[in-house]
């Protein structure tokens, strides 16, 4: 039987909460029942063995703010909160009788002014704490968390607890990775918050290799590296890899102090992959090109007849295609085929339990369920949605299963062409032109 803890969640990307919290729990081998987790509430009470496990679990989270040892709660007045605290936490009081401490206040959708905070603190005088009050670095922080009716000073739910651990979010990671402060970004750079969530769901970790086959300016590499992974990327387009003068992907790693976690980026069509077959890629994170800002391309030509015999052309006695300045042809490709290739690649290259996490766009008026690809050796673990006005993007997480797993293969190439691009540019007002 574990100890009771309160999680305080951020009001952001509600559909991604479960995916992130479960993935981090699984990463740290923590068994925790999250069945009470709901999109409607920023609070969830869980049972965990001890403080250390609870703090470790939440430390990496982006969508949770902090974890608190549960001492009491009420949906009524302060008197009821104190009754609850006396009932639930009396046995814990003695442990903190002499330690230094302070009180902290957190308000969801509102806040309590300082004068009123002092009045509330005075009500807790029944707690037998004789240690010194320290505002800076106290040994223990006791926290009052309240949920306010929006734009009022009335709180409808009150919790009291002992702070056990704060998350990366509370330590300022969103600000650190803010694209506006990043040295090198491009039009396809992925926003900080969800790129951090992506690598959490993908369970990137210290000592693991993470690969982004559509790396662009390296948004997922820097967040993966932040959590200790050794990161490598490739892109069929050399331009974003080159950067602009001193603004490069390497410069971003330097900015974040994780240069050691950057392996390289290669100019490569991932469907003609140069990684040796026994190079273990622990996790794959990517945002494949939808064809909105950049065309979807692979190597080859749509007019093979045009290139017959061209491999024999020589310039200055050297085969043209072997020269340093040779630029290979590319051909248009469909998003569906690309996703199928991605799943095939992941199924072949990931270790058992390794994860593939990628993003795909869907128009809101279409039935997305038919366009999600499946592979018989990959279990679709999470399917989270971020909605915009007329379209959405979905974060799909697949887990590589062992030979005994018998999933179903559904090819996306048959259903997703490149209509998303057409619909995007026509404002989603009409059916696909294609």
């Amino acid at each position: 039987m574990g100890n009771k803890y309160l999680l305080y969640l951020a009001k952001a990307h509600l559909d991604f909460r479960r995916a992130e919290l479960e993935s981090l729990a699984d990463l740290y081998n923590l068994k925790v029942d999250l069945s009470n987790l709901s999109e409607d509430s920023p609070f969830v009470i869980v049972e965990i063995e001890n403080d250390d496990l609870a703090a470790k679990w939440i430390s990496r989270s982006i969508l949770c703010r902090g974890v608190y040892e549960y001492w009491g709660e009420t949906t009524e007045d302060w008197g009821q909160l104190h009754e609850s605290v006396k009932q639930n936490s009396r046995s814990k009081w003695e442990k903190y009788a002499k330690t230094s401490f302070k009180f902290d206040f957190i308000g969801y959708q509102g806040s309590r002014n300082q004068k009123s905070q002092v009045e509330v603190i005075e009500q807790f005088s029944y707690l037998p704490f004789t240690g010194p009050i320290r505002m800076k670095k106290p040994d223990v922080v006791f926290t009052v968390i309240e949920q306010f009716i929006e734009n009022t000073e009335t709180s409808t739910r009150k919790f009291f607890g002992r702070e056990v651990g704060l998350s990366e979010r509370e330590k300022g990671v969103l600000d650190k990775f803010d694209l506006r402060k990043r040295r090198y970004v491009g039009t396809t750079s992925f926003e900080a918050e969800l790129s951090l969530v992506t690598v959490n769901v993908a369970q990137t970790n210290v000592g693991k290799i993470m690969y982004d086959p559509f790396v662009g300016t390296g948004s997922f590499l820097v967040t993966g590296a932040h959590f200790g992974a050794l990161t490598i990327g490739s892109d069929i387009d050399m331009k974003p890899l080159m950067g602009k003068k001193k603004n490069t992907i390497q410069a971003n790693f330097k900015q974040y102090g994780t240069s050691l976690n950057f392996l390289d980026t290669c100019t490569m069509d991932f469907t003609h992959n140069a990684f040796r077959k026994d190079f273990i890629i622990d996790t794959i994170c990517c945002d494949p090109p939808y064809g909105v800002r950049e065309g979807l391309k692979v190597l080859g030509t749509s007019r093979p007849e045009h290139f017959v015999g061209k491999e024999n052309i020589e310039i200055d006695g050297i085969k043209a295609f072997l020269r340093k300045d040779y630029v290979p042809t590319k051909k248009a490709y469909s998003l569906g085929n690309m996703l199928d290739d991605l799943l095939d690649f992941a199924a072949k290259r990931l270790p058992i339990d390794g994860r593939l996490v990628f993003w795909m766009p869907v128009a809101n008026d279409e039935d997305y369920t038919t366009s999600i690809p499946h592979h018989e050796k990959l279990e679709l673990k999470y399917n989270c949605v971020q909605k915009f006005n007329k379209w959405s993007r979905r974060m799909l997480c697949y887990v590589k299963r062992d030979d005994g797993y018998e999933g179903q293969t559904i090819r996306a190439g048959e259903v997703i062409k490149n209509e998303f691009r057409n619909r995007y540019f026509s404002g989603f007002n009409e059916a696909s032109l294609d």
Partner: protein, 129 residues
């Protein structure tokens, strides 16, 4: 391109898939730089597990370094001071040595890939895809 990456890439042409000569690639006409990076013994000890040592020796030879131990150091404890010199040497070679310009030749099919501005390029012409 870090020296370390040479240990992970091979010729991507499908007819070279089963050839032992497509990995490692042969490195020719390379320009090298040393970029100073923080030394982290745990990081290196972890990387060691993932290395194909014969390929490390081969590529080091291409680049003019013949001083590596002939067999892969096993079970290297990063906390043991006796291993510090070994790990420092590996750090200098694998992490700090970078190829800024150069050629990668496939020993099987003879195709040449180039490293330009430190970025290896594995794109292929239409008749090879």
């Amino acid at each position: 391109m870090k020296f370390l990456t040479t240990n992970f890439v091979r010729c991507p042409i499908s007819k070279c898939d089963n050839s032992l000569k497509a990995f490692p690639l042969q490195y020719k006409n390379c320009e090298l730089i040393q970029e100073e990076l923080e030394f982290n013994p745990e990081f290196l000890a972890n990387i060691l597990d993932r290395l194909n040592w014969e390929a490390i020796i081969a590529v080091a030879g291409d680049l003019g370094n013949d001083s590596l131990p002939p067999t892969k150091p096993e079970n290297v404890d990063p906390k043991d001071p006796e291993n510090e010199q070994l790990l420092k040497d590996l750090h200098t070679l694998l992490i700090e040595t970078q190829i800024t310009e150069g050629e990668m030749h496939c020993g099987e099919c003879g195709h040449i890939y180039y490293i330009k501005s430190s970025i290896p390029n594995f794109l292929l012409p239409p008749h090879l895809v």
